[in-house]
Symmetry: C2
Subunit: 413 residues, 2 copies
Amino acid sequence: MLSTIEAREVILKHATPLGVERVSILEALGRVIAEEVRAARQQPPWDNSAMDGFAVRAADALGASPGTPVRLRVAGEIMAGTMPSRAVMPGQAARIMTGAPMPRGADAVVRVEDTESDDPEWVRILKPVEPGRDVRRAGEDQEVGDLLVGAGTRLRPGEIGVIAGAPRAFVSVRRVPTVAVIATGDELAEPDTAPSSAQIVNTSSYSIAAMVREAGARAVVLPIARDDRASLDAVFAEALHADVVVSVGGVSVGERDLVRESLEASGVTMRFWKVRVTPGKPLAFGTAGRKLVFGLPGNPVSCMVSFELFVRPALLKLAGHARIFRRTLCATMTASVKKRKDYVHFLRVRLDREGDRWLATPMGQQGSGVLRSMAWANGLAVGPREMDRLEAGMEVQVIHLDDCWATAEDRPV
Amino acid sequence: MLSTIEAREVILKHATPLGVERVSILEALGRVIAEEVRAARQQPPWDNSAMDGFAVRAADALGASPGTPVRLRVAGEIMAGTMPSRAVMPGQAARIMTGAPMPRGADAVVRVEDTESDDPEWVRILKPVEPGRDVRRAGEDQEVGDLLVGAGTRLRPGEIGVIAGAPRAFVSVRRVPTVAVIATGDELAEPDTAPSSAQIVNTSSYSIAAMVREAGARAVVLPIARDDRASLDAVFAEALHADVVVSVGGVSVGERDLVRESLEASGVTMRFWKVRVTPGKPLAFGTAGRKLVFGLPGNPVSCMVSFELFVRPALLKLAGHARIFRRTLCATMTASVKKRKDYVHFLRVRLDREGDRWLATPMGQQGSGVLRSMAWANGLAVGPREMDRLEAGMEVQVIHLDDCWATAEDRPV
């Protein structure tokens, strides 16, 4: 049986980043850029004022103070968006707005609050300035040809601003995968129908669709497939239009588990069927050309854990991401918990920060049927294969499932 | 001048969570639920099998082993989705599928891999089972009336699965704010036009729109407002249809900064104009009824830092979130950096993990014009007011701007 790491290697070997599409910079957040963006212009295009005030020759303002102001003649006004027409000569100053180009001759800006004026022709400078003060230099941000954003970068708000300034309005990014989500089983009823007493509500289509969206991909939820070949064949034929198929249920070894048969008949080459991991041992993976097909265990918790460990990194790789895993952190167990020996066991825990360390509180109930535990947990503690128990006080690695926003109390400033 | 904390208190005092809308569970990811969801049915509705195998009386399988199998008569087959019609009597077993209801009489499931059968009438049990083994108990996940998800919860994939199982298809969630984004300034040109040599490219509308989306809100990017009252009045009239207005530029003390005048004429009550913070001192905040209006500094970096510190928490509060701040972490400075004394200075740093500690590398260039530094950085180190320098080796608090996905090398399993 494959280990978690071996299984993930097989999956990732078959996950080839998808093709490229052009999107506007308003839609590019979180996408992975598939080209280099280089500066087409110098930024700023010329020396300009960082403040509202007066462009001066710094030498003129030497020794200025509120008691001994330096009086300069106001030689024009430079607005943002216009080029100055004349130079600032010794003894002169030009009124200048934030962002406006510096006039020739001037080498510093005196902020308006460090000046006084009761005559539009004259200004009194109350403070000396060093040359370059409050002047943004031409090319300070970028020179023509500078590499602004490298291919393969995940686009955050800062990169999007930089690309706008290149200037560019569209960028080529990797396509995000479309993922067909299918729950299988005769026992399942959709939540918007009135389930009979013999039925179980289909929760997995909805939790898995949310996990797909959380990974930045597009989910297409298909109707429940019933436990017969005709139903499965029809649903998989439709599903294989997507880049990735995630089927939930029907992958264990029972006689009526027809999923494998149907997948193989649909042209899917199965790569493995089991992984030495708890929860989630019956995990199927196959390929159809460049499409990836996952068969997750039917249990509502197991399928989510399996998705987290095996499907999510593949979706991120398809979308072009280099960083495809969540961070793990080291936490101290607050209680003891049993685990399955000989299996890496991913235990649902709640992470809480206490000063500079993290505490991991295991669920009382690790039963894989208990979906609420998945809502309560924000981490998966990694229980090593050789152990049959994690003890209170032990340090464990925990996969952090949540970005864990903080409340005001957690925040020093 | 207000401190960072005081300014944020004023803003948050005026930020009242928005109203409620019904969305389907397929669209509810990341939203804040505005109602309690309670279980309308027991889950599972009856004891059921956790595995494919044979439902037995555990007492019958005592002492079973591969050498001394226990032979039981197969009395029927129970499929998922059907109720068993008869009980399992002593000496009998019922073939059972994962998820199928347990038949009366049986108290455990023997997994199919622990059995042998060459005759459909008989099965040989190769392993004893304890009572309850591989049986999921009725109500194990939820009892009727159980509180499944509390009002105010941010909906993650686990909660969405739980709500589906309630069963519910729609939920009431807080509306997310619509945010009008406006760049102001005669010097600005849009990135898709050919900027003249006297113009600066408008990057802030795009970086801020991305920050709005990253905070889960909806951005509406308005055309650039020019530095005259007619243009500003027209754009603000349109902008005030949104829940929040974020205007960039035109908030310092220069004579041609008409933003304040135009906002007040539009019915906005200004609450403050400056905060003792770097970058971002000229920060305006006002209200118009329940609408929030922010005037951010025009500098491309300053406006992003101001958004992060002041606008993002307000947007999250409007959307109903309780946790509205990013986590901070404690990191060690890798180099010294100057800061502005008497101001809390938020310094752009890159965070890297080294074992169990974090390193914060300051940007060589903290100049607020250098937008690329914002792309490069993934943290804001908090430089305390009283210092004029952060030294290498010092421990600092850093706001973590990024969820920092990991590469395979960072990941132990």
